[in-house]
């Protein structure tokens, strides 16, 4: 291993010293921007998570009285302390929106993407550093705008994160559909602009700035996943923007793109006529389905690399892992109709979408078996990062299997808009990526801050979270098969749902348990930044990729005067004949001690 002390000074030579503000706040350094993304997204996660706890409070005890919360949010509760139904719907919208965009998209591509891309490809920074900084600041602005939707008169929008028209197209359709919905659209447009700037950087940087010897098929899987994700974002987000432009014109310009004739609002026939509400769904889901892969693909890449590190084995079938990710992203553009099986779409088209959707099971299974092949026979090191990457596979499989039911139109028509769907997508595209993000945070924390996170707290966090998420989301399958509707405000309203209310209570209690486990993480994270065990070497996990050639924390400019030269792929763990159980990508020739 290279020494730790010499490097730091060399880095500072390459770039002049900057003041506090330029170094940590208005920085164009990709690592600072990455950490800014991570911490902003964490704040959004706390907000989005709190909203979900409020929802669970209502679902567990629908007729409960919460005088304390009522005193905090007088408009959201009535005088007896019961939650307002409209407020509940705005919680649904804001929880979904915040988590999908402002947590998962932001933390995985914005956070890890910015931090890791130059480090893992052996570059000093992104291709367009200023654009990168601008991307973060626009993202922050979009966070502020979406959060303000909770505070304005009328509250947040009611239509869910999918903002279905015509509800979203008519500002008078409900209390949150006026200012709240306008802020929602503004935030999403800003987020799209920020994401485009990020994606432009990721694609250009990975394709043109790889260091000598780092061919595409030697990239770590994290880099492949970030590249494919950036391409997905590039193709999907502009379509959402197009839909949002048309929606804005419907709301303020009097157009009728999404509004059919004959709607009566407040006792009066509206003037709009001629539009098509399903058009919004098509445009939204053309974006929306790739969006879930924008969330899951980087999670797959991160989990794959961390898994190989802690299994001390090469990832099983690297090339197929890359091809599978490419196949998943290609298929993601021709499956959107499976979100619309009950929308009145042609049943023939439904069958087509069923077939394309089930095709996704093939590359997903390839990936799953390759992960199992990686774990098989390995001497696994159960670090917190390793545990979370294994947990990712468990959750991806559990959530993915129910996707096969939902992708089949015949089964989906029964299960559509029930808690079965809620269980499915939370496991597969929310909790699984969350676990991969946790794995990444425990793993790269030393590289970010020069200290370790506490391992004991990390393991408590893992086991409590792992048990917690299954207690929260597994019973939801049963609730859904039993008929509990998605976005329902009061399950006790329906006789057929009353017998299974005990499950709702169980889920709610589990949700509070799960949330308290995340407090362990937050405390560990922030305390470890200043008080964690110091890292004394460049490569504490004995990993192969290029970021571990740099000191912890990495200085400005990343590498010393010379950029590293790559001689091998990223997965030389336990190579036969080597003296150590790994060979870094920079290890030049055949190790001397080889015997065959």
């Amino acid at each position: 291993m290279t020494d730790t002390h010499g490097h730091h000074h060399e880095d500072e030579h390459a770039h002049p010293q900057l003041g506090f503000w330029r170094k940590y706040v208005f920085s164009t350094d990709h690592k600072v921007i990455g950490i800014q993304y991570l911490i902003t997204a964490m704040a959004m996660a706390v907000i989005g998570g709190t909203l979900s706890l409020l929802m669970r409070l209502q679902l567990g005890w629908p007729h409960g009285s919460f005088p304390f919360l009522a005193s905090l949010m007088p408009k959201a509760f009535d005088s007896q302390g019961h939650m307002d139904a409209g407020f509940y719907l705005s919680l649904v919208t804001m929880h979904g929106t915040i988590m999908v965009f402002f947590l998962f998209t932001a933390v995985l591509t914005g956070g890890f993407g910015n931090f890791l891309i130059p480090l893992q490809i052996g570059a000093r920074d992104m291709a367009f550093p200023f654009l990168n900084a601008l991307s973060y600041w626009i993202f922050l602005l979009s966070c502020v705008v979406i959060f303000s939707a909770l505070l304005v008169e009328g509250g947040a929008p009611l239509g869910g994160w999918t903002a279905y028209a015509p509800l979203s197209a008519l500002p008078d359709a409900g209390p949150g559909q006026g200012t709240g919905m306008t802020l929602w659209i503004t935030a999403i447009a800003l987020f799209t602009a920020s994401g485009l700037m990020g994606g432009l950087n990721y694609i250009t940087t990975i394709l043109t700035m790889r260091t000598k010897g780092l061919s595409m098929m030697r990239l770590p899987l994290t880099q492949w996943s970030l590249l494919i994700t950036a391409v997905l974002g590039l193709l999907a987000f502009p379509v959402l923007l197009a839909a949002a432009i048309l929606l804005v014109f419907d709301r303020v310009g009097g157009t009728s793109f999404f509004i059919p004739g004959g709607i009566i609002l407040g006792g009066k026939l509206i003037e709009h006529t001629g539009g098509h509400p399903l058009l919004w769904q098509h445009l939204f889901w053309f974006f929306g389905h790739p969006e879930v892969y924008i969330v899951i693909l980087p999670a797959m890449g991160i989990a794959s690399d961390i898994l190989a590190t802690f299994c001390r084995k090469p990832i099983f079938s690297y090339k197929m892992m890359v091809y599978a990710m490419a196949a998943i992203s290609g298929l993601s553009f021709i499956v959107w109709g499976h979100h619309m099986f009950v929308s009145g779409m042609s049943p023939f088209l439904g069958s087509v979408f069923t077939i394309t959707t089930l095709l996704i099971a093939v590359p997903s299974a390839v990936k799953t078996f390759n992960w199992l092949g990686t774990v098989w026979g390995a001497r696994i090191q159960f670090t917190s990062a390793g545990l979370f990457s294994i947990g990712f596979i468990s959750l991806f499989v559990s959530g993915g299997l129910s996707g096969i039911f939902l992708g089949t139109s015949a089964a989906d028509i029964q299960l559509q808009d029930t808690y079965f769907v809620v269980a499915h997508f939370h496991l597969v595209m929310a909790i699984a990526p969350l676990f991969a993000a946790y794995a990444g945070l425990y793993y790269w924390f030393p590289k970010m801050f020069g200290r370790f996170m506490n391992e004991t707290a990390g393991k408590i966090h893992f086991w409590a979270s792992f048990v917690g998420v299954y207690c929260v989301f597994f019973p939801m399958h049963i609730l859904g098969i039993g008929g509990q509707m998605r976005r329902i405000y009061d399950p006790l309203n329906y006789a057929f749902l009353q017998p299974q209310q005990v499950l709702n209570v169980f889920v709610s209690i589990s949700a509070f348990f799960l949330a308290s486990a995340q407090i362990v993480f937050l405390v560990n994270f922030f305390v470890s930044i200043w008080a964690g065990k110091r890292v004394t070497e460049n490569n504490p996990w004995k990993a192969t990729t290029l970021e571990w050639e740099t000191p912890c924390p990495t200085g400005h400019g990343n590498f010393g005067p010379e950029l590293p030269v790559v001689h091998r792929w990223a997965f030389d763990y336990s190579p036969p004949g080597a003296t150590e159980d790994f060979l870094p990508q920079t290890a030049p020739a055949v190790p001397a001690a080889r015997q065959h």
Binding site: I121, A123, A127, F128, L196, G199, L200, I203, T204, T208, T211, K212, G213, L214, S215, M217, R218, L234, L235, F237, P238, V239, L240, L241, A242, A243, I245, L246, F249, G253, G254, T255, F257, G261, T273, G274, G275, H276, L279, L283, K313, P314, F316, S317, Y318, K319, M320, G377, V566, H567, R568, F571, D572, S574, P575, P576, A587, P588, A589, V590
Partner: protein, 210 residues
């Protein structure tokens, strides 16, 4: 021998063994990419713009298929505007030719001509809107008119952005920073400017063939 190396011996799907790992495939990484950073960045941006207009025009095609669709008459001046925009691209090509021949005065002149023609196109589009308004065809009159205003408007916004870019390159031309050896910014800009022609012709055809 480990299971792993046994599998490798059998020539399975596992990656090759770490023998002959002394420099690799001959691929020198990023240096081999055929486009410059700025050019690739521009193509990425253009891809996003393609998808934006693909989204808008797929909405157009879907709504066009509905029975309640009502056509408007596209103002004649739009034909003239189209020619003006095309001429603007031609002028930009003359600017490129001048830079290749090391004629800085020619670069500045042709870029100025291109910019003026671009602005003329925008003025022409505004006149087209005014003509529609005076004929009583507003944004909300029919879905076709809505699309006319939205598509021309979104395209015009991209042209305004392009004019800002033109200003930046023009400044470089004035500072004599564009040489026959290096006129990357002009290359990248003309990619965008010509592309906006293509987008316009696509939108125009879409609106005409209603």
């Amino acid at each position: 021998m480990s299971v792993l190396s046994q599998l490798r011996r059998r020539g399975s799907i596992l990656p090759p063994p770490p023998t002959n790992y002394d420099g690799g495939s001959g691929d020198s990484g990023g240096g081999s990419f055929p486009l410059s950073r700025a050019q690739l960045g521009m193509w990425v941006l253009l891809t996003a713009i393609i998808m934006l207009f693909a989204g808008l025009s797929s909405a157009y095609i879907v709504l066009h298929g509905l029975p309640q669709w009502q056509n408007i008459t596209v103002p004649r001046i739009v034909w003239a505007n189209t020619l003006v925009l095309f001429a603007s691209s031609v002028a930009l090509e003359f600017a490129r030719q001048s830079v290749r021949r090391n004629q800085p005065a020619g670069v500045r002149q042709w870029m100025a001509v291109s910019g003026i023609l671009g602005i003329s196109f925008l003025v022409g589009q505004v006149i087209a809107w005014r003509q529609l308004v005076s004929a009583g065809v507003y944004l909300s009159t029919t879905i076709h008119s809505s699309f006319f205003y939205v598509l021309t408007g979104v395209h015009a916004l991209h042209l305004v952005g392009g004019l800002v870019g033109l200003g930046v390159v023009f400044q470089k031309a004035f500072a004599n920073k564009l040489t026959a050896a290096n006129y990357e910014s002009l290359k990248v800009f003309s990619l965008y400017w010509h592309f906006m022609d293509v987008v316009w012709i696509y939108c125009f055809l879409l609106l005409l063939l209603a």
